[in-house]
């Protein structure tokens, strides 16, 4: 379950020789006057940031603002090469700045920024864009953005008419990847072409998801204008969007999927060992080996099993964990029969959290979220939910695989206090430089979201042993990822071994086990970020609790963590050391 804005992207980075990160900076307690180094650093990042924002225009944009884009970004080879040159140059200039010459607050910014640029440059260098399978799903999300003005609609129509160009460039990129064996594993692509087909087959333009914004238009747009916009929208869909989807579908069916690579391991790609290690660095933000992570995974799985057994004892279940999981997978008491019922329950859980939030957080975001279903076109292959600024998305496809006993954990993770809480807080924190408001680091964001699930225990969100077990099974699932991801990519595990390991240890439905495993195959390393991130946050919290004793205030601690925006884990650890040194004072004077 990834946060919304990464959901559409298959991230890929090849191995690269990135230098060691600069030494961890101290955290300033008082603002310090800008040094000459500060000025150089600010000039550099501000110019780059402006350039970077001008590149986007697609819906992977994390800005969280309701900007309706009029075009997609240029993703051609030429544009990609230009990006590589640009970021490589920025990185070189960045390395001429001595971090110790910066004021303490800027040292943190520098560390975060350096990590960002390294990652961006590495993604370009190793041509991750040549494996961007699934690039089309961003379009379904764009169709769900609320539109307010006539200009919004005109932008959207232009955006629809830009689809053929954008799809064409992406297909060229995929073709280049195919040529050098740089593709997702074939087994994980089986049936995935249907997410393209479902968008348009047997549908009039008005029945497609792309037409959604025209179904209910704001009353402030006059009726004759509405009619004109509707006509233009339908034309764009029939003349641009649908033909582009047809071309894409043909390409996937006849060229891409049949010729995709047969292996599953990252290690099986050229220079695969270094490649996988670099992905670990990107997603975990710590230098750990696959073996280390694998072992942590096995240890954690064993610990969570003990907790699970305790729940089974509590409800008096006589039988094995697997039998208990079977019971949970099949008993009707744990399932709803209509999509709306699932959404309504998700809303209620969110409101229960809101009832307790102020006791656990001093600073809360102004932007709250709606609960909406996953778009039909991607629902069959998407996870149980996604979350981001303004939305909690619940997958209502195949309801017998969407149990209620895991719903509280899912809602805490994707909604509040997980993604749909953490991300707006960062966006609204205008004290952070722009590049820290809207950027996303998986180990921090997913670690926080998984921490949020277990936080629900002390918040009293889990009302029954089954719901508590649901939380545990989600913990287990993410602990299993440590085992399975490293197993398949570095230790020679087969897909069936991975499936069996998940089946034996989690309560995931068979449907979820398959989509999950294929996701790990497609995005090596990404699935490691959750549990390692969570462990780091708990470790920091326990350290602060032990050091501060009575002075530990959970609200101040959470404020200190979330005030950071999204940072590599070592920055988080350093911040909590500072928090302890400051006697447990949070970052906001008025809390």
């Amino acid at each position: 379950m990834r946060h919304l804005f990464k959901a559409a992207v298959v991230g890929t980075i090849l191995s690269c020789g990135i230098g060691l990160p600069p030494a961890m900076p101290a955290f300033a307690t008082v603002p310090v006057a800008a040094s000459p180094g500060d000025v150089a650093f600010e000039t550099l990042w501000k110019a780059e940031w402006k350039w970077r924002k001008a590149l986007t225009g697609d819906n992977d944009d994390d800005s969280g603002e309701n900007v309706i884009h009029s075009h997609f970004p240029d993703v051609s080879k030429t544009a990609q090469d230009a990006r590589l040159a640009y970021w490589t140059n920025v990185l070189a200039q960045l390395d001429t700045i001595d971090p110790t010459s910066l004021s303490p607050g800027q040292q943190v910014n520098y560390t975060v920024y350096h990590n960002q640029i390294e990652t961006l440059a590495a993604q370009q260098k190793f041509r991750g864009y040549e494996m961007r399978f699934g690039f089309w799903s961003g379009l379904s999300y764009a169709a769900r953005k609320p539109m307010r003005t006539e200009q919004d609609y005109r932008n959207y129509i232009a955006y629809l008419n830009d689809v053929p160009r954008y799809f064409g460039q992406n297909i060229d990129n995929l073709r280049a990847g195919l040529k050098r064996g740089f593709t997702p594993s074939q087994i994980s692509l089986q049936g995935r072409d249907s997410s393209v087909a479902i968008a348009f087959e047997n549908k009039t333009p008005e029945q497609t998801v792309f037409y959604t914004p025209f179904l209910a238009m704001p009353a402030s747009i006059p009726a004759d204008k509405q009619a004109e916009l509707k006509k233009l929208g339908a034309e764009a869909i029939s003349q641009s969007v649908i033909p582009a989807h047809k071309t894409l579908l043909a390409f996937l069916r006849t060229d891409y999927i049949p010729h995709a690579r047969k292996t599953i391991a990252a290690y099986d790609l050229p220079d695969g060992k270094a490649y996988y290690q670099s992905l670990i660095r990107e997603y975990v933000t710590l230098d750990m080996t696959p073996d280390q992570i694998h072992q942590i995974g096995l240890d954690e799985v064993a610990k969570i099993k003990v907790e699970m057994q305790a729940v089974m004892d509590e409800v008096g279940f006589k039988g094995s964990l697997q039998q208990f999981n079977d019971f949970l997978r099949t008993d009707p008491q744990f399932y709803v029969t209509t999509p709306q019922a699932l959404l309504d329950r998700g809303a209620w859980i969110s409101k229960e959290f809101d009832g307790k939030a102020a006791q656990y957080f001093g600073r809360m975001p102004r932007m709250r979220f709606a609960v909406i279903p996953t778009p039909d076109a991607i629902a069959p292959y998407n996870t149980g939910g996604n979350g981001g600024p303004g939305v909690l998305i619940l997958n209502t496809y195949n309801l017998p695989s969407r149990p209620l006993y895991t719903l509280p954990a899912l809602v805490l993770h994707e909604g509040a206090p997980g993604h749909a809480w953490q991300m707006p807080l960062a966006l609204e924190n205008k004290d952070l430089p722009d590049f820290r408001q809207s950027t996303y680091i998986s180990a921090f964001g997913e670690g926080w979201a998984l921490y949020s699930e277990r936080l629900g225990v002390e918040m009293g969100i889990y009302h029954t042993p089954y719901e508590h077990f649901g939380m545990l099974t989600y913990q287990m699932w993410r602990a299993c990822r440590l085992v399975v991801d490293t197993g398949m990519h570095a230790k020679g595990w087969t897909r069936d071994q991975a499936l069996a390991f998940l089946r034996d240890n989690t309560a995931l439905s068979e449907h979820e086990i398959t989509t999950e495993t294929d996701r790990y195959i497609n995005t090596p390393g990404q699935a490691l970020s959750y549990y390692i991130g969570e462990m780091t946050i708990w470790k920091a919290r326990h350290k602060a609790e032990a050091a501060l004793g009575d002075k530990f205030d959970i609200r101040q601690f959470h404020d200190a963590v979330l005030q950071l925006g999204s940072v590599p884990l070592p920055v988080l650890e350093a911040r909590i050391d500072r928090f302890i040194a400051d006697g447990g004072k949070g970052p906001y004077a008025d809390q």
């Binding site: 309504d344 209620w348 009832g355 975001p365 932007m367 609960v371």
Partner: protein
């Protein structure tokens, strides 16, 4: 409707929500001439005076001394209060409005309005009526217990001291009511009887389960277990030896004295000086000087207009039958009845969540405090559902309060409009934004101007139309039914209190025109009887806000941005309607930015 700690003085009508900062922020740099400085100190003194009248709010701000106290409505305290108000009024009148910067001029106008209301209230000696329908001094302890979180042992001890002070609080209120008996200034028998029923319920609670012990039973683990147990034991003893006898005495006083002597007439206009008092209540609650007759006429015209819109919805739904048959259908058809309390919570939550997703399209400024949904406390079941303000500093969310005791009488067709009224963008959005607005003086952050607050909430229901919240003719009919209900209030409140209407006339007016359930209708009418004028604020306030919006749209044309308009309405905290109009006019002149 918002629920306050419920004694009827100004101070108690101020919201109990927490305030983020302890000091009044310095006004903008331009507010620095001698008059502005005189206003700054006047604001501070006004706030201190209000604070001294409301220990419940003060304690929610972390004042431990106030935590042990109840409001003091003794004649000595009220007389001192009157003197202090007059002194503030003299100082205020000595400052020429034209010499003030705009912010301070607004403070002056707002405080002047408040001082006048308070002095007039003392003039009518309204302390003789310390309760209305469902709420009053006798539910104040329930609200105090539900709203307090005790974090330390000294706070727990202050709470025990407060329990010990309860008999004196009840005794003072009883004296005030005895003065009411002597002067014939009493609530009607119907209202007094309902109050007695709640008092009897209080007195019947087993001592060990008394709701006033709940704050002590929920002490945090940071206090040693032995100490916690000791505190509960001490509290229980105080309940047994002091609180219970006071509760019993109150029941006896009502049973043998107040209820038998209470008037049969439901009209406030029939009390001594009652007509003038009603005009005063109109000014306080509806922020207007319209006569009861003019309000009555306005109500009738609104009823007619809304009825037309309701008929259109019935037609759109394809229903074949009369208006009355449709009313019955929408009150009773199983599709409009929630299956269980859980089902009801989910549906209310789903509405709030849908609105949340749309808010950024209609507002720039949103509050940080979340809003949640919760069942009404068992002790407070007799009062209606509504909204409880929260507090960022206390860690208490805003809460939409639900009563699921009679789901068969709570058709879900009106639930969308209702949740928007109580939650977002209604009470929660407006109140939390004001609470969190550090730029305002404290009194404006927590102020309650009924016509503004309820007018905004009713406006919010209507805003749901353009937000696309009403997905079926039934849901829209549910909204119109609520609007009709508020239009009927203009007719009924004035009708019953000064135009000789009977209770039955009021009931049939609601039954003929709204989709409300029988149970709601009975409760509503009793509420108007026991709380004259309060029900007028909704429609009067909403009409004014819609007028201001129409005026701004016409004046600004394409430059009109709805988000800016809403921010403008809410940015000053609650203000009387005439002052609101002046503020919006200035905003229009500035080009609506």
């Amino acid at each position: 409707m918002i629920r306050y700690s419920a004694t009827l003085t100004l101070a108690a009508l101020l919201l109990t929500g927490g305030i983020a900062q302890a000091t009044t922020p310095a006004p903008a740099a331009t507010c620095a001439n001698p008059s502005d400085k005189a206003m700054t100190s006047l604001v501070a003194d006004f706030e201190a005076l209000s604070a001294s009248r409301d220990p419940l709010r003060e304690s929610s701000n972390g004042n431990i001394a106030a935590l042990s106290q109840w409001p003091d409505d003794s004649t000595a305290a009220l007389s001192a209060y009157g003197k202090a108000l007059n002194s503030l009024m003299s100082r205020l009148k000595a400052i020429t409005p034209a010499s003030l910067c705009p912010e301070q001029a607004l403070n002056q106008a707002l405080i002047k309005d408040r001082l006048e209301l308070e002095l007039d209230g003392l003039h009518f000696d309204e302390a003789r009526l310390p309760f209305n329908t469902g709420d009053g001094f006798y539910t104040t302890p329930d609200y105090a217990a539900a709203g307090v979180i005790l974090r330390t042992e000294p706070e727990a001890r202050a709470w025990i001291a407060k329990l010990k002070a309860l008999p004196a609080f009840y005794a003072t209120e009883t004296e005030n009511m005895q003065r009411g008996i002597q002067t014939g200034f009493m609530r009607p028998k119907l209202v007094a009887t309902k109050a007695l029923a709640v008092m009897e319920k209080h007195a019947a609670q087993p001592v060990a389960d008394h709701s006033l012990l709940n704050p002590l039973k929920n002490l945090p683990d940071s206090i040693p277990a032995a100490t916690r147990a000791q505190l509960v034991t001490e509290g229980t003893q105080v309940i047994a030896t002091q609180v219970r006898p006071a509760e019993d005495a109150l029941v006896i006083f009502f049973k043998t004295d107040y209820v038998p002597k209470a008037p049969e007439s439901i009209a406030i206009g029939d009390l001594p000086d009652g007509k003038a008092y009603y005009q005063y209540l109109i000014h306080r609650h509806a922020s207007t000087d319209m006569t009861p007759q003019a309000i009555h006429e306005l109500g009738l015209s609104e009823v007619k207009r809304i009825r037309g819109e309701m008929d259109a919805d019935i037609k759109a739904s394809g229903f074949k039958g009369t208006f009355a048959e449709f009313q019955t259908f929408i009150r009773t058809d199983p599709r409009f009845i929630a299956e269980s309390p859980e089902d009801y919570y989910e549906k209310v939550s789903a509405v709030l969540i849908r609105v949340q997703g749309l808010l950024p399209l209609y507002f720039h400024n949103l509050p940080r405090l979340p809003v949640t949904v919760h069942e009404v406390d068992p002790q407070l079941k007799s009062s209606s559902s509504g909204y409880n303000p929260g507090s960022l500093t206390q860690g208490v969310p805003g809460t939409v309060i639900i009563n699921t005791d009679h789901l068969d009488q709570s058709p879900t067709s009106g639930l969308t409009a209702w949740a928007m009224h109580e939650g977002v963008p209604g009470h929660h959005l407006q109140i939390a934004l004001a609470q969190e607005n550090d730029a305002l003086p404290k009194f404006r952050r927590r102020d309650d101007i009924n016509a503004f607050v309820e007018g905004w909430a009713l406006y919010s229901e209507h805003l749901g139309v353009e937000m696309g919240m009403y997905r079926t003719p039934y849901e829209d009919f549910g909204r119109l039914s609520l609007e009709m209900w508020r239009a009927c209030r203009l007719v009924i409140d004035t009708g019953m209190h000064v135009m000789g209407w009977s209770r039955d006339q009021a009931v049939s007016c609601l039954r003929d025109n709204t989709g409300l359930s029988d149970r709601s209708i009975q409760n509503e009418v009793d509420r108007y009887i026991g709380w004259p004028g309060q029900a007028l604020g909704y429609k009067i306030g909403e009409i004014r806000i819609r007028q201001l919006r129409a005026r701004a749209e016409a004046a600004l044309g394409p430059k009109f941005d709805l988000r800016d308009f809403h921010d403008e309405i809410l940015k000053n905290g609650p203000v009387p309607l005439d002052i609101l109009s002046q503020q919006v006019d200035v905003w229009i002149k500035r080009g609506g930015k």
